[in-house]
Symmetry: D3
Subunit: 289 residues, 6 copies
């Protein structure tokens, strides 16, 4: 019953490799020679890749991994010495900073609110902007040598694309404050103990296997139920329990699917893989001729 | 000074055993042969038991435990093939799903907002609807062989009676998402490490002893101060610190009791058990003739 | 470039010792003979010390430590048998309780919202009002023999100056409820495991060294970036991610400092300590002649 | 296509008359000799009537009107000198006040959140508790001699069953404060000018005609769309625009009905009355055997 | 039964006259020669006057009026060319602006949250900072020649001490935006029509008579019930109805006063003035020796 | 000092005319023959026009007007019978409705959150989707023959692109509910009385003159102060006063401009037009090569 349609060609990317296989999308940061730093092309391509994934019915879950010794060294400093110059001395310049920042935040929010779950597989350093990025994922795996660092404070600035907003929803506030004020590195074991990562692996290969296995499990559930669960969890994070229960009522009224429940139960009884329909987004209304 | 009045007879129950001794109420799921699944009678009786407890001055704390190998296997599937048929194909049918769901949520919310604290003692499997139920308790104890499973996703649906709303307030969000998307089981040790349960015990008997001991301690405090503390903690969970401090001001103005403070201090000095008055709810206004 | 101005003389204090050295302020509870209980003078002096710190440009971080076997035994009971009498029997008396409580809460809120981060170094007992106090700090260190106790319930009352509001934002709710309902002590290791403290030390001396070292690291960052980070983290704790990202935009527009970023990067490259300007609050508008 | 089933017999009522005709329910306060004051029977019967209406598919809108010179003189003072005695001198007594108040509030909240819109038709005095009641309605009509009075302050107490919560969402805050602090009467023309009432009529008969006409119009729309609109408006009142738009998305996914839209358009084209299905609530889950 | 104690001497003021008679406090802006502009002394004295009123049991309501042709021309521009220099070019300077602004906002928030209601009586121009000020009052009366102007935009800045925050809670948003973007004057009749003022009077004398008469009425109610009503209305403005009803429960438990209710009813029956106890704030805890 | 740079060519539009003169942008709905209904091209072009305006420094305010007898008849019904088919019978289809709706809402949210104020000038009918649209504007002017109609309920559906979310923030809730449940038309005078429109004009020409005059006044203020005011007003609408004052602090720290204040005051003193710098958004980060 699921769509087997080959997804349309993904956008051409230079900083990333992107594939979708067996309903599992995989986005790989692949500029290890530059420590996978985030320069303007990185931002533009990440945004394009996410937009494409959002419209690709075959993608039911996304794994983000990286190449080289470190996951990512964060924002590329040259970014701000090139085309973009921040001038905070005038009110008009400061308003422009707000605008620019809103744009950058929007890309990580697009990652967080993607129609499908996101698993980040992190090796080595996860530094500065990379922390902002992985805190926008749903599930985090890391290697034993991984570390997390709110590098922004070490270069004299406030982290501003999500770390200070999302980290305190993921780990105890006292630990988030220590990271944000000192710029110290948090190692893999402490990250596991405080709930920042779900699991730690000896090697990157083992981590990637586990991430893809987890992704495959998620891809075997009905996409509409996964989408509903994600919506409910995000809503609950940001609202009272009372509010969130009411939202669950509207959401369940919308996503309840007798066929999916029946198929799940029958497949279980028949000891076979269930077969669920893809989510096929309507082409953007504004783009209809 | 406390009321020694024998509580009025509790409602007749078939799925549960209910007792109140020494100010400790105990509700036992006792259909082990059916894995304590939640069928319509379960729901109706749970609601009735909670209403009775709410009006029973002698009850100062509630322990919920279960019988058999598993705490509960969650929602009874036959529920939805019997009297109740969900038809999501029409808007009117979907609105009816909203209504039904609101009713079911209301029972677990009644558990959560009960006038007295609730301790859940969990052995074996705590599955699907059972997770919804125990996340509405205050304190959770479990046995070493216990496990927690958001089973709903495994049968193709979104968990909808509280798990997705309450779990992210209890454990790190990344772990809650893993459970909700994969339907994997979380074992007792991980539950302890991430704060889902307060303590793990080797045997069910040891767990029950500890739960009743903890309950006895709570029952030895002034009920009005316990009630006030519970109100404050729930308010704080769902509001800003600033808001919550202000609420604490109104609440403390209402619940401050010089007699209770004096009695607590004197009993401590005299090395005796303190004696506090029960909370006696006024009979429901709407039910007065 | 930083201000080397000797800070104006701090207020004369009898319950505390207060110093500022190398941009690190240190406030020591020094009435060990009275178990550092919180009596009216304690409250008045703490408020004065915090007001002075707020206006002292040289202070970039605050360490709070204590003397004697216990950090603090909490509220001094004689407080309420002396000048202050709570009379809850009339509505007017209860309104006065609200007022008094608001005043006391305001002092700990002043601690929490201080312009600079606060590190609490806790030895031995941290009891009752002391828990209210340290939950208003940013980072908590403790000794191996430290314990935390919501003592209020043990003397028959509801904790009312912050514990019930701040603790559930710091540790899992189920554990906070256990502490609040039972009045049991939480030991250092459990406090570490659940995120209440950042680190545990064998001796008080080792803890103090570490706290001062951590403070020195924070003091080496640009004060305006630390201030901005603190504002962002507190806002995020109490608002949705969406709201918090927008606030980050306004805040970053306000605190972005090209000179600080340049200095941080140059100092890093030149392997020297960076030199950042102090934050110099404008004298309170209402106090200008 | 709509259900023509005769609704089951409504509850036997002594303070009210209740009927449902042509999908319009009509609840009449009919104890004019007692100025329609709210005594325990009033509360119990109102609650029962609302519960019955909630489960009655034929009811698509509710008109509440009254008999005699005044709509209602509010709470019956004898209520509190009879079976119910409020004793605020102890903390336990004050907690009981909270419980009692919650019960009374719940009845007016049941009115506000009723599955169907509510139109209140108000003649003469609308005093004290009656203001609490009509602010929980959707639309208010009144006669030229009507007046509204927050009578509670005139008898030395704070209005506590909804007026202070709902009035400031209906009229400018400065006017609500004047009413709440002075206990002055607001006449019909001012009520119209500030938006408290939708329309003013010379006679009660004219008002009732208009209310029933308005109700008939509402009853001619699809019940599921009216229900959805009511849910959206209430959510929007209490949340940000951003939040409310997102809620609208889930809600529309749930209530969108191609058949209803088609029927509405065809009926318009064919210049006939449309025919929409009733909303048939599932029998309460907890009441299934 | 009320306290007849002469209030302690109010603070010495040069910009204001302050008196308390028959429980009505009256604060008069009395620098008409300077158009009652807000310079540093104004701010300091206003803050002091409000602090004194907060602690004065005899004061049950506050009337604020002014002298001269205009109520107030707003912020004195020389303020910012004298002792205080705003330097927004550095991040540290901008952080200092935040601090200064917080201080100024705190004074108007003290006005808004004063224990007692505030009535503003406005003649002529109410300009810039004066709009910020009167929107923090509860009730507004004005003369027929009064006008309101968000003057800040006319001098190139954003209004920042409350107008943009409080005005949209008092009048329709579209009208508030027009005022804020254009800097146009709103006349008395439009202010009345949109709910900004409660009543318009031909002469200042008539307005003052009416304001004092309204104040006298408020002063004749129990102060604790007025305080409770004010708390409830402010809470409701900023929270959902659901939240606000729950807060009402705690608040009513705290402020319910059988003696006040009895006295009110008896005085009504005996056609005499009721006699209620004052609210006597406990001396600030932190100031006890 | 302001930029006189000719704005880059606006997008080619067929449903609209778009111009920018003297800092005033003007967008005209110009398909009167189709009653300016909203079909896919309308949506796509509106989105493109708003994106272009957001990046155009010369635009300081936007006037939206229309042509023909009616402002707009709302959503074009053929929209949904063409390329786009809504299928609500499956959960996957309902999730697609959510997506589509989010896209449409985003365009009106782009209008509401545009960097510059928006004035809507409305003649004749403002129906269905057109109400959603104009409630997202800041200021509304209309002709004497204008009317507003929540047409959605008349065609059997719930209004879903903003009306139910924004209307209750603009007018009294009771009136919004009447419109939403009955689908009745609200005439110009009632719209004026309840604050929906700012002013009513006899002819469309007079209205347009007034709208452009108002726009010119807004364009003569510093764009950064207008931007800041708009941000503050929107934040205040959706948050508590306390929260909003704090936001104002960060915002003012960011947008305070001594040069603009000086220029405004000097121009006033010199009786000349002031000259303020444009806001020049940084080119979108993600689009840098």
């Amino acid at each position: 019953m699921t769509s087997n349609a080959t997804p349309a060609t993904p956008p051409v990317l230079s900083c990333f490799a992107l594939s979708v296989e067996q309903h599992v999308a995989h986005l790989v940061l692949n500029r290890p020679e530059a420590l996978n730093t985030m320069h303007p092309t990185f931002w533009r391509e990440l945004d394009a890749a996410l937009s494409w994934l959002h419209m690709s019915p075959a993608a039911r879950v996304l794994v983000i991994s990286s190449t080289g010794k470190h996951f990512s060294a964060g924002m590329a400093l040259e970014t701000f010495s090139g085309a973009i110059t921040l001038d905070e001395r005038t009110a008009e310049g400061r308003a422009a900073i707000f605008d620019l920042l809103s744009d950058m935040q929007a890309t990580f929010t697009k990652l967080e609110t993607l129609r499908i779950p996101v698993i980040a597989a992190i090796q080595g350093g996860c530094i500065g902007g990379a922390v902002d990025m992985v805190t926008a994922a749903c599930i985090r795996y890391c290697t034993a040598d991984a570390f997390f660092c709110v590098q922004e404070i070490n270069i004299g600035m406030v982290a501003d694309v999500g770390t200070l907003q999302r980290l305190p929803k993921l780990i105890p506030l006292g630990i988030a404050k220590e990271m944000a004020y000192t710029g110290r590195r948090m190692g893999a074991q402490r990250a596991l103990a405080c709930g920042l990562v779900n699991e730690v692996f000896e090697t990157q290969a083992a981590m990637l296997d586990a991430a893809l296995q987890c992704a495959a499990e998620i891809a075997s559930k009905p996409p509409v139920a996964i989408w509903g669960s994600k919506q409910a969890l995000h809503y609950a994070r940001d609202h009272s329990v009372e509010d969130s229960l009411r939202q669950m009522g509207w959401l369940q009224s919308a996503v309840w699917s007798s066929p999916n429940v029946r198929e799940a139960i029958m497949a279980m009884q028949q000891k076979r893989s269930p077969d669920f329909p893809d989510l096929a987004p309507l082409a953007r209304f504004a783009d209809q001729g």
